[in-house]
């Protein structure tokens, strides 16, 4: 069981580290908006979090694709 938990943590923080860090920053931004923006900030917080996370997913996968393409083309040379 502990090996499973360990491999999940390693996967989350190391293999997918950039995505995890990005998500944590998105959560922190959302928290800040909700606590500093009053009632309007709280009502916007979910939509802001959703927008940031969606952009993060697309950007992270684009970057992964570019990295793999660069590696594949350098391996062919």
């Amino acid at each position: 069981m502990f090996r499973g938990i360990w491999s999940t943590l390693v996967g989350l923080l190391i293999e997918d580290g950039q995505l995890a860090i990005g998500a944590l920053i998105a959560l922190a931004i959302t928290w800040a908006i909700a606590y500093t923006g009053g009632e309007q900030g709280r009502d916007l917080s979910g939509w802001v979090l959703l927008a940031i996370v969606l952009a993060l997913v697309v950007a992270n996968l684009y970057r992964a694709g570019v990295t793999v393409r660069a590696r594949a083309s350098s391996a062919r040379r």
């Binding site: 069981m1 293999e15 959703l50 697309v58 996968l61 694709g65």
Partner: protein, 261 residues
């Protein structure tokens, strides 16, 4: 939602479906391994291993799960669970997108089943005593995957009340469904489109994560739980866009390990 004594079928379905789908993925993996042990070494030891793991899990859930849900304040629990769901969901979603784009190899239950059978045959079978190898392999598999199911139930049921009931019903239904399929077929469940399920579950985990984290901050979503399907659609749309984008970037795919991406 916990204060509402009426069971709204739509809310119940919204909360039970992700737990059903997510648990089904875990049950497919556990069933594949138990089937491999049963077919190669006989059924007594793996079935006893499965029962022992189920009892261990029940103890873990009864002590840890209920304590967490009842002792920790609801908003704090929603915030922490929401953040965790988002982190785990993003990981599932990313891997599913990379698999659909052909960058990472598709998870193959048939291959896992054949590999498990080969390993168990290589270890041999001594018929003089109880088959401890078969027992331990089944126990470990069911406990590992079951722990993930327990996490799913606690996470999806973190709001308490209907949510916890629905998540439990969803997980039990998934277990019964997958076990019945496994018993009927006595073969690995290769027809289950696992990457599609992981794709959907990843989107649902992310959606519940966003929904609960914002609720914990004091946001009131329009239509309450009815906004969850819209958030799921947004995640599915963005992921579909990412798959299309990766297929344009890498038309031949790459077939590399996820850790190298």
């Amino acid at each position: 939602m916990a204060d509402n004594p009426r069971v709204d079928p739509i809310t119940l379905a919204i909360h039970a479906t992700p737990a059903f789908v997510a648990s089904a993925v875990e049950f497919v993996e556990a069933t594949t391994i138990v089937l491999a042990v049963g077919v190669t070494r006989g059924w007594r030891a793996p079935l006893l291993g499965t029962v022992a793991a189920t009892v261990t899990l029940a103890v873990i859930i009864a002590t840890l799960g209920v304590a967490i849900v009842t002792v920790v304040p609801e908003n704090l629990l929603k915030g922490v669970v929401g953040a965790l769901l988002l982190l785990f969901g993003l990981r599932w979603l990313r891997k599913a997108v990379l698999r659909f784009a052909g960058i990472v190899a598709i998870h193959d239950e048939e291959l896992i089943y054949q590999r498990e059978i080969a390993e168990l045959r290589a270890q041999g079978l001594q018929r003089t005593h109880f088959d401890w190898v078969g027992f331990l392999v089944a126990y470990k598999a069911v406990l590992l995957e079951g722990t993930e199911v327990a996490f799913i139930v606690i996470a999806f049921g973190a709001a308490g009340g209907i949510a916890l009931t629905a998540a439990t019903i969803g997980a039990i239904a998934a277990g019964l469904f997958v076990i019945a399929l496994g018993v009927a077929l006595k073969k690995p469940l290769t027809m289950v489109p696992e990457n599609w399920l992981k794709f959907g579950v990843g989107a649902m985990l992310c959606s519940f994560g966003v929904f609960w984290f914002a609720e914990a901050l004091g946001m009131e979503w329009p239509g309450d739980a009815l906004s969850i399907p819209l958030i799921v659609l947004a995640f599915l749309g963005a992921s579909w866009l990412a798959v299309r984008m990766l297929r344009v970037l890498l038309p031949q795919g790459a077939r590399v390990e996820a850790r190298h991406v």
